[in-house]
């Protein structure tokens, strides 16, 4: 139980970061014609921010459901990579994986793998509970009450997840310079892709940059040692 509680605490920065995004999703959902129940239901069942926003814009554009589902699948394929990597960082039993895996997002993945040494299943469960609650609750509030967060604060809160990522990165660099090199290379590759292919989705940028930079990390290990 203490482990779950520690995990819940670990998820707080994610929930803070999710909140304004989820509220925006709720508001946009309403504008797209979703009822509060439907918008919140999407957040509760899908729990994947970027693809939910894309789904709204595609619904608005009159794209067929089948095509939206396909786009969602492709965008969220990156979780394959994160789920595979997470398996090596987590102590868990196989029967727990249906519950634990539901909560894998970009954010819960990096916090789970980098915030502490080896996470127990209970702690990860607490972590995803907080993140999930922030996401679902934010959507509900947004779809019911529109943007209740003052605009200046909502804009500023856009930095929250980035601040959290940086807070995970710096201690990693202090521990091993190679972690910093890999992260730096990944950012560089992501930027080159972003500039070179304006149409490419952020999901693919993350996948391609991660694959390339992790491979360079191993290569550096062997060549430079």
């Amino acid at each position: 139980m203490n482990e779950v509680r520690a995990g819940i605490r670990l998820g707080i920065p994610i929930a803070i970061g999710y909140m304004p995004i989820a509220v925006t999703f709720g508001v946009l959902g309403k504008q797209t014609g979703l009822s509060p129940f439907e918008a919140t239901g999407m957040s509760a069942l899908v729990f994947a921010g970027a693809s939910q926003f894309i789904a709204l814009s595609l619904v608005q554009a009159g794209v067929s459901y089948a095509e939206i589902i396909l786009a969602t699948f492709i965008l969220n394929l990156r979780h394959l990579l994160m789920s595979t990597s997470l398996a090596g960082f987590l102590s868990y039993q196989r029967w727990q994986s249906p519950f634990l895996s539901f909560g894998i997002t970009d954010e819960t993945f990096v916090v789970a793998t980098l915030a502490e040494d080896r996470l127990s299943a209970s702690k990860f469960l607490g972590l995803i509970f907080t993140a999930y609650s922030g996401w679902v609750l934010g959507t509900l509030l947004g779809s019911l009450f529109a943007s209740f967060i003052p605009e200046i604060l909502a804009n500023a809160m856009g930095i929250a997840l980035y601040a959290m990522f940086i807070g995970l990165l710096i201690p990693s660099i202090k521990k091993s310079y190679r972690a910093g090199v890999v992260a730096g290379l990944s950012a560089l590759i992501a930027w080159i892709l972003y500039v070179s292919f304006p149409g490419i989705s952020y999901g693919w940028i993350i996948v391609l940059a991660t694959l390339a930079a992790a491979s360079l990390g191993i290569w550096l290990e062997e060549e430079v040692a």
Partner: protein, 98 residues
């Protein structure tokens, strides 16, 4: 057609890629280099998640996000408290944007 079809469809295709590796990879022996490669994935993901995305935090000026990011990085050298760093980032954003 009810929008719930869309929601359930999205839920299924999002859940399966999350579940499959965690369920299958357990207890599969992997060569050492694959394990080491997977250990690098979080750092690599972190890099791509931070940049270039941080430039889009302020729609009108990409430098604001970068500047706040650098200041948060400096603070992160002294504290691992993520909530504190998140709050610091938000406060700095408010200051820089006004």
């Amino acid at each position: 057609m009810s929008v719930w079809w869309l929601i359930f469809g999205m839920a299924v295709v999002t859940y399966l890629p999350r579940l499959f590796p965690l369920f299958v990879v357990k207890d599969i022996p992997m060569p050492g280099w694959v394990k080491r490669w997977l250990q690098y994935v979080p750092y690599a993901a972190l890099g791509a998640l931070i940049f270039p995305g941080i430039m889009t935090v302020d729609q009108s000026n990409p430098l604001i996000g970068v500047m706040v990011g650098i200041l948060v990085a400096m603070a992160a050298w002294f504290t691992r408290n993520l909530v504190l760093l998140v709050v610091l980032g938000i406060v700095l954003m408010i200051i820089f944007q006004s």
